[in-house]
């Protein structure tokens, strides 16, 4: 499986929100919740749709500080972009527009596939009557064509690439045999033999090996049909992202990169064929390329309705947003991101597990929580790697009890140091990006570890090159980075999607590595391998709780926060719905008061 650069993935928020919100809302959100899950919601209750409305009309005003990763459904990588694409595109499957647990529904297809052939064959039936914005009827061949496009990585790059090696045998370098539709010798450019289209309504995938999460991959925008007539013309290929063809309720009427994106209604979209979209506003305007502070002030003054990124208000506005005045306009959803310290077994003395465990005990998670913005804007203190918002979560055992207020357990840390043969402590380096919050995290860690005589020197790295450095194991070893501050959110919200890149020994890469701690435990690897052929979902989930437990035993990951983002909305915004799958709010569900 190919991976996108670390930074992109960090931004690509994945999984999501959780049981703990349920737990807290049922206790009316007043009493303090268990320390492992943090306080209850500080604003809107995300377990329900806030300000429900069916009133159509008006203009939804969104703001974004970043450009789109791409508007080509096969090339976008930010989960916030995927969220936005629900306005325009209809992949085979999608995440149902409802609060609470993630549920896949058929979007272009009628329903999620039930695998046959031991998890290798997946068959979908398309809904009839779905049309492109020009009125042409969508067929299964258009979906097959769309699936073929990212095989041409020289043209269609940047997007997720889970499908490639699963649909065409890959060589040792991970390059699939099929060259993509632009070099396809067959006259109809549909030469990918593993995808069958027996008729216009049916598409069947024959995978090279079992892959239990195929339905999740088909819920990414990459399975959105692409008309071959356009893509093989001058507006296709690398240029397709300028004006992609809509199948959803809106189409692009204006797009200037990093400035503005305007959507108007797609008259060829038929509500009767759509399982969940409300399509309330008449048009949608995304103002792009403005500073995060400017985004906040536009929303606070009702000039805009919501950000696209959903990463939370700036520190400078946090105090304002937390005043009672904004109680009904703020929310703090879990982004699904785990923030953690990676403790490198390749850097002495962390080759000794007891020295790693000393760090587990000695850190002050409550201090790091402050550095990240506190319980609402920063997140809930984490005691294991399993996000409370991920399917199959059960409260994990606390393997490294960190003291009653999570400030550290110094006696346990000293005892581990003793067993490590370093009773007088040692010196190490900690890598962190040169932004204020990361510096604050470093200082917290430095302070906390100094209490047990572990001296931590700063290894500050420019933010732009940060993922390159920490994603290159040889560089980590060469620079002697014993502790690395990092985070992880998967592309799709399944335990496999979450754990494979994070802890699978098979997934350690020479560059663009996500398994920063270089965890390579045979038991973990085989559990993950086994999950690909799983048919019993409960056993599958239990296996992943075991993966979490083994990861904590290995002690190379010091989880400190299940991230939350404190966001604010305009006072006219209706139908606010938190989508756990993206850790963000469902833009296509939003409506505005006129």
């Amino acid at each position: 499986m190919t991976r996108t650069p670390r930074g992109l993935r960090a931004a690509a928020l994945g999984v999501v929100l959780a049981l703990f919100v349920t737990a807290c809302s049922s206790s009316s959100g007043s009493g303090p919740a268990p320390s492992s899950t943090g306080p209850g919601p500080v604003g809107l209750n995300l377990e329900v749709v806030s300000y429900p409305s069916d009133a159509a009309g008006g203009t939804l005003q969104l703001v974004s500080s970043a450009p789109w990763s791409s508007l080509d459904p096969a090339r976008s990588i930010y989960s916030s972009d995927w969220d936005f694409m629900r306005f325009i595109f209809r992949p085979l499957l999608n995440f149902e527009a409802r609060p609470g647990a993630v549920r896949l529904v058929g979007d272009l297809a009628t329903e999620p596939a039930v695998p046959t052939d031991g998890g290798k064959t997946w068959k979908y039936t398309l809904r009839s009557g779905v049309k492109y914005q020009d009125g042409t009827v969508v067929t299964s061949k258009d979906v097959k064509y769309a699936i073929e496009r990212p095989f041409a990585q020289d043209v269609i790059d940047g997007g997720p690439t889970y499908t490639l090696c699963l649909l065409s045998p890959c060589d040792a370098d991970g390059v699939p045999a099929y060259p993509g539709p632009y070099k396809d010798k067959s006259p109809d450019h549909l030469g990918l033999s593993s995808v069958e289209t027996p008729d216009d309504q049916t598409i069947i995938f024959h995978l090279t090996k079992p892959f239990a999460d195929w339905n999740f991959v088909m819920a990414l925008p990459g399975s959105t049909p692409v008309p071959q007539s356009v893509d093989q013309g001058p507006d296709g290929g690398a240029n397709y992202q300028q004006n992609p063809v809509a199948t959803g309720p809106y189409q692009i009427s204006q797009y200037e990169a990093d400035k503005i994106t305007k959507l108007v209604r797609n008259t060829n979209w038929d509500k009767a064929t759509d399982p969940f979209r409300k399509a309330l506003p008449d048009d949608v305007v995304v103002t792009m390329g403005i500073s995060p502070n400017d985004e906040d002030s536009r929303i606070l003054t009702n000039q805009a309705d919501s950000t696209v990124e959903g990463t939370g208000v700036q520190v400078s506005n946090q105090g304002t947003v937390l005043t009672p005045q904004y109680q009904s306009r703020r929310a703090d959803g879990s982004t699904g991101t785990l923030r953690f310290l990676s403790v490198q077994q390749t850097v002495a003395p962390f080759d000794n597990e007891h020295c790693r465990r000393a760090v587990q005990y000695a850190v002050s998670k409550s201090s790091i929580q402050r550095a990240r913005g506190g319980p609402y804007a920063g997140g809930a203190i984490a005691i294991s790697t399993y996000p409370p918002t991920l399917e199959g979560y059960q409260p994990p055992p606390d393997k490294y009890p960190n003291g009653p207020d999570s400030t550290g357990n110094l006696d346990a840390a000293r005892s581990e140091l003793q067993q490590c043969g370093k009773p007088d402590g040692f010196t190490t380096n900690m890598a962190f990006a040169n932004v204020k919050k990361e510096e604050d995290v470093f200082q917290s860690v430095q302070q906390a570890l100094a209490r047990v005589n572990i001296k931590v020197n700063p290894a500050q790295i420019d933010q732009d090159g940060y993922s390159d450095v920490i994603g290159t194991p040889t560089e980590v070893k060469k620079r002697g980075l014993g502790i690395i501050n990092t985070n992880w959110a998967p592309d799709f919200p399944s335990p496999y999607g979450y754990y494979h890149s994070l802890v699978d020994g098979e997934a350690i890469l020479p560059q663009g590595n996500i398994n920063t701690a270089e965890i390579n435990e045979p038991e973990i690897n085989s559990l993950i391998e086994k999950s690909l052929t799983a048919t019993d979902r409960q056993a599958y989930l239990a296996d992943y709780r075991q993966v979490d437990s083994l990861t904590m035993d290995q002690a190379g990951i010091v989880p400190y926060l299940h991230e939350r983002a404190l966001v604010v909305f305009s006072s006219r915004l209706k139908n606010i719905l938190f989508l756990r799958a993206f850790g963000n709010y469902d833009f296509q569900a939003m409506g505005v008061n006129q």
Partner: protein, 308 residues
């Protein structure tokens, strides 16, 4: 006047003039206090108040907003937080100002010393030898003065791995010192140029004095005036330079306290905790102003054309 005319040495005249200049004296007193505070503060005041600069006081900060709980940036004289606490981690601002002042003064003094040594040596060489040496040094100074110093410093900071804080300070001292000596070098060169033609140099030379004797015994004593004046004026510039580098992230790295770094960290909290921005800003302002006033007074006092 009936008083007998008393002969005074140039040094006495300068001191008399300086004493009469109240503004310069005020500046001088503040400078002395600042130096004393930086040198002795960590062993006295900061120790007595009991809050080391790196110590976290998280109980004094609101965990939801990161802002100090007490008003005015958490100023609490009864608990010995004279200037309040830093947002997020609650470190004592007074302690950090004192320690940050140490870093600022240390860097500025070391960089100034480097600049003076380089400037004087280069200036004397160029002025005394003339010819191609003068041309070479003159062109070098032109080049350095035209150099984009700030960009160079930022680039250098990016190359530096930043593992060793002392190493980082060394880099900053080098960058600031190396790029500020030409100012002094030019002045010294001009002075030496006229001094070497003076009668006392001629007579020393005719008596058979060596180059070393002429340079250091005859010429150098006449240069103390400009050297003093220029170093007292470069010093505050260097303090600002250090703050600018730290502000831009190319200077001293946390957790080492630095005024520039504090100013860089302050803007996000400016609305909720303006004290955090005002305190290091005022410290920087007072220090630079005091050095400038004192330096100006010194220049006037040492100016032979001045009114005695």
């Amino acid at each position: 006047m009936a008083e007998p005319i008393v002969g005074r040495s140039p040094r006495q005249i300068a001191w008399l003039r300086l004493k009469r200049d109240k503004v310069a004296m005020a500046g001088g007193i503040v400078v002395v206090l600042l130096v004393l505070l930086s040198l002795l503060g960590p062993y006295t005041v900061v120790k007595w108040l009991g809050h080391p600069p790196g110590e976290f006081h998280e109980d004094l900060v609101d965990s939801n907003t990161g802002l100090p709980i007490k008003p005015h940036g958490g100023i609490d004289w009864s608990a010995h937080f004279l200037l309040g606490v830093e947002p997020i981690n609650g470190r004592d601002l007074f302690s950090r100002i004192v320690y940050g002042g140490r870093v600022s003064l240390l860097v500025a003094l070391a960089a100034t010393a480097l600049a003076v040594v380089l400037g004087v040596v280069a200036g004397i060489l160029a002025g005394y030898r003339g010819g191609w040496v003068d041309t070479l040094i003159g062109r070098t100074m032109d080049m350095l003065l035209a150099f984009p110093v700030l960009l160079f410093a930022i680039a250098l900071a990016a190359v530096d791995p930043g593992f060793i804080p002392a190493g980082r300070i060394g880099v900053i001292v080098f960058v600031i010192g190396f790029f500020s000596w030409p100012y002094l070098g030019r002045v010294i060169r001009g002075q030496v140029f006229t001094l070497r033609e003076k009668e006392f140099v001629e007579s020393a030379r005719s008596l058979g004095a060596g180059t070393g004797h002429i340079l250091f015994r005859q010429i150098l004593p006449n240069l103390w005036g400009p050297i003093l004046v220029y170093s007292s004026l470069i010093l505050p510039t260097n303090i600002l330079f250090e703050a600018a580098l730290s502000f831009l992230g190319a200077g001293v790295q946390s957790p080492t306290p630095s005024w520039g770094k504090m100013l860089a960290d302050a803007p996000p909290f400016a609305t909720g905790d303006p004290t955090f921005m005002i305190v290091p800003g005022v410290a920087l302002f007072i220090t630079v102003l005091a050095f400038n006033l004192f330096g100006d007074g010194l220049r006037d006092a040492l100016d032979p054309r001045g009114i005695g």
